[in-house]
Symmetry: C2
Subunit: 341 residues, 2 copies
Amino acid sequence: MKPVTLKQIAEELNISITTVSKALKDYPDVSPKTKGRVKELAATLNYKPNSFAVNLRTKESKTVGLIIPVIVHHFFANVIKGILSQAEKKGYLVIILQSNESYDLERKQIDLLLRKGVDGVIISLANETVNYNHLNEVITQGKSLVMFDKIAKTVHCSKVIINDRLAAYKATQHLIDTGCKKIAHFRGSLLPQNSIDRFLGYRKALEDNNIPYDPSVVYICECADKSFEEGEQNALKLLEEHDDVDGIFINTDLVAIGAMSALKKAGIKIPEDIAIVGFSNWFMSSVISPKLTTINQPGFEMGKSAFKQLFKEIKLRKKNRPIEFKEIELKTELINRESTH
Amino acid sequence: MKPVTLKQIAEELNISITTVSKALKDYPDVSPKTKGRVKELAATLNYKPNSFAVNLRTKESKTVGLIIPVIVHHFFANVIKGILSQAEKKGYLVIILQSNESYDLERKQIDLLLRKGVDGVIISLANETVNYNHLNEVITQGKSLVMFDKIAKTVHCSKVIINDRLAAYKATQHLIDTGCKKIAHFRGSLLPQNSIDRFLGYRKALEDNNIPYDPSVVYICECADKSFEEGEQNALKLLEEHDDVDGIFINTDLVAIGAMSALKKAGIKIPEDIAIVGFSNWFMSSVISPKLTTINQPGFEMGKSAFKQLFKEIKLRKKNRPIEFKEIELKTELINRESTH
DNA sequence: CTGAAAGCGCTTACAG
DNA sequence: CTGAAAGCGCTTACAG
């Protein structure tokens, strides 16, 4: 069954394609009578505008691209949900891609989206990414770009973030306030800005409380899809190397949960022997035992906010109005549960 | 910066648009010399075909739509991952929509995708959905359709499923084999086929083992986004109404985890007092304590398989070849952990 | 109020 | 081997 076109409607009603097109779009210069006839026939024929043709003419696709490092991930899934909820309101569709923390893939995916003619791109960077040409390419092509969570500070576009430094500071301070004397840190890999920031927040909190910073007590989790395992391994290493540690601030809930699992197996009591604070507030963290104290990272709101900003910029760009890039910082809070005193 | 077009390349090289187009697509009837010149210039100008125009001509968008009930969900997230991994290999993009278990939204989203001109649709139905006109509309419009997990048996298209009945039977049999005498069931809402099938599998297992079926011991969890809470509530109700139950087969891991949480709080020992089997094998289930015995539901594979089938059908349809719909059934297995004896 | 015409950027059947 | 021409289905500036 061939789709119905404007031409068919025009022929059937003995009027021009132009008039049919205008009638359907409620142009003021079409008589109500004609509009009525056109709309009625369009409805009965179940006419749907061919969006390929519309795109070609209007140079808009009402579609945006979203690139995230991992899909099976509580935080990112929430971001997606936030973006979709907002896109739906504006009649936009979202093409989703997973970079799998790979710079090469990320580059290819940006290119794909650009070829596809999306109106804008929302992205959270892969851990590997240190070169930003592909992102600048988006801007060069006149498309809107919004980065969130894992951002590149030097790229000239809007960003939606949390204050990782401050949040990490609060997490560490909480451990100090509840009596921890020697606090370790399991950090993320070296590149991404937010794992650096969380580390800096940790160190600053120690400093402000006159606790000496000991680099040997900072462990690195490299691999995004082995978080749980790395949490276990680092916990065991820590146990061997530093039996005086009584608190750990951990970069990510999943790593924290792995660490707790290993510690419990080793007979360590949480929080009595070692207290733990995670980061992100995965649903899981409220369900395990003991429940994990953590930093709430508002994924849904970040997604919503990222799409809203992107949408604004798409509209402004269309009207050739100047665009002011924003750095939107969302609030985080410490969720105090059972893994700390 | 305006995008480069075939016309610009043609003018610059003083040849026709036709030849440029053919050269870039390696048509055999273009001289190697010309091809070389065209490709070189295209590369230096960073030419990218305008996909709106290509779509309009070829009536293909190399894009498929995916509608799922919920995004923040371990199983569905894995399905998405499987679909994306396969789509990437074939150069396809995926537009993702969340129906939020709403029939109305699902209908609108199908319509949106159809208007958008996707080449095919993959869907897992909302719990509410009992009318399938919108799905048949996809087929009527000559697009391919693949359903997975929550399917409608009567819709004429390919399906990717597990054998929910058999899996539920295995789960219940496991409880019986490990000594449970009175087994309750927390089922999903009444409509979706797979919650019906799981219930039937449960009942069949009782029957085959000469255990009388007691409907008062079957509890319903209606609400998809309150699974955890419903698990808690039903567990407490069960405790009040039936203190002789010593095993529960639960429709979904998240509900099971809620139930376990409430039971533990009430001083019930798992599995000593009550043994529990879940369904789906969420990551979380391997991390809580006691670790949940459950049925593994291969989300990633289901996604891969759904896309593969869709892709095959898109290709066949393009060549006007006959299409044979398949019902692909993937294997499940019982993951025996600590919540059963 | 209506419509002829140009054009978005590409592909492809056809002629030479 | 090359190119003129038609056409995909729509939108919109312009003329009447």
